[in-house]
């Protein structure tokens, strides 16, 4: 984004110049993304128009196009932002957990589910809308999550114990969550902690150890 500061002040109110332009820009962008998520949750991505988004965000159409060339690019930005936010949640949960590997996995899984439950519109965007808006993004974010998990488990050192496909494990997780989200039960996601721990560990530790870890969360 290479915008001149003055372009934001054009036609602005008397207070506008006192807001630093980058903060104003960020604020607009966040409002637009939030408006997109809210509208999509209510009437799906296809049913949402640019007019809906700018209306909810209280920005002008021109402002929308300063940030995003079209609705799909706006959608991708929203998905990327929420993924970055989830990554941040993971990092924090990791830092606050005990040093044992399985304890870290449990803490991270719990934090992740809490975060998803706290932002139902965004969760819906990611789980329900994304696969039809942009099927190609799914493998990319799956890779991101699997890589993070494998770093956590230091799988390179113990890859002989890999019995199942981590990509399938990701699918298990996704469909399990999508079922709850689609049924409008996002607030129940934190109760899926044992299942999530089981699914995440199954490919790396085998069924018995994964079940054992899952039961520790109950």
């Amino acid at each position: 984004m290479t915008l001149e500061p003055k372009s934001l002040r054009e036609g602005g109110g008397i207070l506008t110049p006192s807001i630093p332009w980058d903060i104003a820009m960020r604020n607009q962008r966040e409002r637009i993304l939030l408006a997109l998520a809210e509208n999509c949750a209510e009437k799906t991505f296809v049913g949402t128009t640019i007019a809906d988004i700018v209306g909810t965000a209280s920005v002008s159409r021109a402002t929308f196009y300063k940030h995003f060339a079209n609705k799909t690019i706006c959608f991708r930005a929203a998905a990327d932002d929420f993924l970055a936010e989830l990554q941040h949640t993971v990092k924090e949960a990791r830092a606050n957990a005990d040093s044992s590997e399985s304890d870290r996995i449990r803490s991270v899984a719990a934090a992740l589910l809490d975060q998803l439950a706290a932002k139902p519109d965004w969760t819906k965007l990611l789980l329900v809308e994304l696969p039809s808006v942009d099927p190609e993004i799914v493998p990319r974010y799956r890779r991101l999550i699997i890589d993070a998990l494998e770093r956590e488990l230091d799988v390179a050192a113990s890859s002989d114990s890999a019995v199942a496909d981590p990509e399938i494990a990701f699918g298990r997780f996704k469909v399990l969550l999508t079922g709850y989200v689609a049924a409008g039960e996002v607030e129940r996601l934190p109760a899926l902690l044992p299942e999530l721990v089981y699914i995440a560990l199954l490919p790396y530790m085998g069924q018995d150890s994964a079940l054992e870890q899952a039961q520790l969360t109950i």
Binding site: T44, V46, G47, P131, S132, E136, K174
Partner: protein, 251 residues
């Protein structure tokens, strides 16, 4: 509205991928006083409408297509359309139902054959993968477009998935996790969905051994699931029909 819209359809499978662009007017009954029973006429209209909504959606997308597009494609009048369906959404969802019913019948039939439970799961899965390979183009359109229909479609997904996982529940003698059937089937569903939406549906049958393993793993553990994977591999090697047909060069 009328009782017509509540009937159970089986999808008109005269229209697999190869005939996707087939002109639906060929399916029309003769005009005029043909003396055919009213029931048959209605069934023919309905089948054409279901096939038409899929074709129109494939060509234009669900949102951009209109009732007029659908009835023109099907060769029925506007009044006839509304005798069968209240609106475009009902027509689209009825086509979806018909497709899923067709898949369910085939999968359940394979699953009901005598054998051990893991064996029956494997055969049900094999039939499911073959169905998606045969109907990959139609399935792709419906999977992508269902997401655009509206918020009701999310609930629809949930109910359909539950019906499939209910089939698996009888194998659950290991009640350690409440969502075991979802966990078992979810990975398979996600993979099928992804391959079909990315246009790779034809290669699904070749993935049977790995997917059998993943489907049974949460129930049977590594050893039992690996035994079924190996059984799937030897059945494939023994020339069970798969979708891995090499295209003929001589045309």
């Amino acid at each position: 509205m009328t009782e017509l819209s509540d009937q159970n359809d089986t999808f008109p499978l005269g229209a697999p991928d190869g005939d996707f662009a087939q002109d639906l007017h060929l399916w029309k009954l003769p005009r005029g006083r043909h003396g055919l029973p009213r029931e048959l006429v209605e069934q023919s209209q309905r089948e054409r409408l279901l096939a038409a909504v899929i074709r129109v959606t494939a060509a234009k997308g669900y949102q951009a297509s209109s009732v007029a597009d659908i009835l023109n494609k099907a060769g029925v009048g506007r009044e006839t359309f509304y005798q069968h369906f209240k609106n475009k959404e009902k027509c689209f969802m009825a086509a979806n139902d018909a497709l899923i019913a067709d898949l369910e019948v085939r999968a359940a039939e394979a699953y009901a054959q005598p054998g051990s439970w893991p064996e029956r799961v494997r055969h049900g899965l094999a039939e499911t993968l073959r169905w998606f390979a045969e109907n990959s183009q139609v399935a792709r359109v419906m999977m992508i477009e269902t997401g655009t229909v509206g918020t009701a479609a999310g609930d629809y997904f949930h109910r359909t998935f539950r019906r499939f996982t209910a089939l698996l529940d009888e194998g659950q003698d290991n009640p350690t996790l409440p969502n075991l059937a979802s966990i078992a089937a979810g990975g398979i569903f996600a993979r099928v969905y992804e391959e079909v939406t990315l246009g790779n549906g034809a290669k699904l049958p070749s993935m049977l051994p790995q997917l059998t393993f993943e489907l049974l793993l949460p129930y049977l553990g590594e050893e039992g699931a690996a035994a079924e994977r190996d059984a799937a591999m030897s059945e494939q090697a023994a020339g069970e029909p798969t979708a891995e047909r090499t295209p003929s060069i001589s045309n």
